[in-house]
Amino acid sequence: MSQTEHKKNVIIVGTGIAGSLIAKLLTDHVFDPEKGKMIHRADAKKTEKIRELSVLMLEAGLEAGIELDSVSSMTTYNEYIRTFYKEAAKVPNSPYPNLKPAPSPNILDMEKITPPFPDKKGYLVQFGPMPFASDAIRVGGGTTLHWLGTTPRMLPNDFRLTEKYGIEINKPDSSEKTSINWPIDYETLKPYYEMAEFEIGVSGDVSKQKYPISEKTEQYYGDYVFPMEEIPQSYMDHKIIHGLEGTSVTLNSEKIPLLMVPSPQGRNSIPNPKYGKTKIIKAETIQSGYRLVLDSSEKEEYKALGSVWNPYMGERCEGNASCVPICPVQAKYNALKTLKKALYKMNENENLVRHPYLEIKAQSVVYRLSVDHADQDKISKVHLRKYTSKDKTDFVEEVIDTSDAIVILAANAFENPKILLNSKYTVTENGKKVERTAANRSDQVGRNLMDHMVMLTWGLFPEPVYSYRGPGSTTNISSFRDGNFRSQFSAWISPLDNWGWSWPTFSPGSDLAEFLTDGNFGSKLREKLTYRLSRQVLFHFEIEQLPNPNNRVTINDQYMDALGIPRPVIHYELTEYEQKSMQQAKLASDQMFEKLGIKDFTKYTEQDKNTFMYDGVRYSYNGAGHIVGTHRMGSNPDDSVTNSYCKSWDHPNLYVVGAGNMTTLGTSNPTLTLSAFTIRSVESILTDLEKQFKN
């Protein structure tokens, strides 16, 4: 057992978007002992007295994945691309290393569950009754390496479903009801959305964002433009918009007008001149601590940020049409871009140099925290296992003393609760010894696991739309994202998918196989394939799942990984609220298909992995990769794991950040929202650091 020597101010677990954002923002700030305040590096006078804060990041993925000098990062990333080319099943995790010592959930491992027997095939142990259908990847940069990049904000009512629509959920293991309002509202989060959109580099047209909300665009966005101009909508989008514009869909005898919106996206287009100069996210001192602002006093023009290894590559989306699982030119944002800004800072000569106060240790799997009950329940140690190679299971046990440091768990929504649940400590209450797990006074750690349930419908458009081109999705139908129906069934967002039927049917391979079975060859085969493939359209219905205390990540010492660390054990079910929504979404799909003259090829069968009967009709769905909710934020320590700054209620030096903090899911892709509140959490972290430096 070895003890890490240097004392660090902050320990961050995970190099995904949450961890990288915090690392970048913290390393951009220093302590000014004269003022007794944390200040932005740009405002620091050249004085020797400035004190740097020292950050250690721990990453479970391979060493190669976090080496971000040009040569290493290009070599590693090109290897991801080569692997993607060779993999037969081009699923989200396919380009990235599959690690024996630090496995990742993979959708290829997910199987139908026959209770009470769990599906143990992959990394997750799934008790169901419904398999959880989404995956994540443990690699430098995290799952942003294979996210699609769609970045809508949440809507104001998403933050107050109890207040607005009277929805309440059960408390854990009880029939007593509790609220699912967030501890913050849209207005509070709005400036941080702008910061997240700056850091990610969002392309979009504010004036074209139409949502079914009472707030006008000027209220919702304010006087604002995205950093870059809209990503062009696909030829297919234009055909569908032309056919649906001005029409509506009838649900529950209510007419809902169809709003078709170009999606804001975290991929590079042309910088918008109206956005002005580039910005700095900077802490300002306020009475109670710090407030982050998007400072516009920079002189440099805003520029699209290209690939990590070469800034002159990927300055525009080039239409690779492979955003999931990998953008070959990194025109799509991934967290390595933010991590690189944490690792490399500009020196006096305006050269990028390696920042000496940020250390990243890879192949380091954090599995437990120690709590010092005698010292205010501080997190006193972080325990990790450092493995030596991707195929071997030997490791070195390491312990990091954190009694004077701030610990930030920034792993995904499976790993954060897994680590917390594995962090047991004993306290004495009324003379009795009681066992507790970290940050879990509310019993909400690991609960409320959510994902968008993606119901897909597909068919043939009456004329060629030339799908399989462009980013995965460039338009969404926003009409069903909010409305009074939410008191009865889930809201949803409907992205139009540019990649034909590749998701539900594995086109074009399945089309070829079908036509070959019918004995086609030569010019006839060509004609049939051309006809079929150029007309394929795919609609998504991404159904909001409510928090449910029974949908949870737990651990169980029967199920361990190769390093002897507990695997996430999942219990997961649907409720009628979501099932009814899929019925309504299918009705909406049928009406839209009819208006467009689309020949419906949608088929749901009993063999589908995620399938159910509702009102005598079968529905099937897929996961969206939106793994959220397992350490919810709230306004009350009794029913949430963290406060709105992602700070644990139970431990004075612990933050838990990431998608797991989401109180509810809404209908937007979660990465932008988690980035916004993660950025906001830095205000509280800076306040804690100020105290640490003064001690």
């Binding site: 080319y85 037969a88 080039e318 049409a321 492979s322 070959p328 030339y466 074009p508 004995g519």
Partner: protein
């Protein structure tokens, strides 16, 4: 420069037959097939994957079809009756077509290039996802050659 490869114990003549029957089965010209840069790779891969006798039988059947067909219509009919109606032969034909269209044999890519050179993407006026990127905004308009 013309490179003539003697491949295993099958002489050049069979390679030509392979290219001709590939043209007839896929509907892509020999020239288009050659533009993948993978013709010899595919040929040797099939030789390794099938019993040599089976492959020679397939090529002999193909050769006979070409010898007795004097126009495209006759050729199509001969392929339909002598290859596609014979389970053993049609199975190989399906494999050969899939190899050219998708770059896979029995579900696996031959190498990282075979994925990128799949001909199916040309049929839909697109490109293999993640390769041969057509450029910013190209997806917003009707593709070139879409009126063919």
């Amino acid at each position: 420069m013309i490179i003539i490869n003697k491949i295993l114990n099958v002489d050049d003549y069979y390679f030509d037959v392979f290219m001709s029957i590939s043209e007839a089965l896929t509907g892509f010209s020999v020239n288009e097939l050659q533009s993948t840069g993978l013709t010899e790779t595919y040929y040797t891969h099939i030789l390794k994957s099938l019993e040599v006798a089976t492959f020679i039988e397939f090529l002999t059947v193909s050769k006979n079809i070409f010898e007795k067909s004097s126009d495209p219509k006759q050729l199509e009919e001969a392929i339909a009756s002598e290859i596609m109606k014979n389970t053993r032969m049609s199975d190989i034909a399906g494999h050969v077509i899939t190899l050219w269209y998708l770059g896979t044999w029995e579900g696996a890519y031959i190498n990282d290039l075979s994925y990128q050179e799949g001909l199916v993407w040309n049929l839909m006026n697109a490109h293999p996802p993640g390769a041969k990127q057509p450029g910013f905004k190209s997806w917003a308009i009707k593709p070139v050659n879409s009126n063919l």
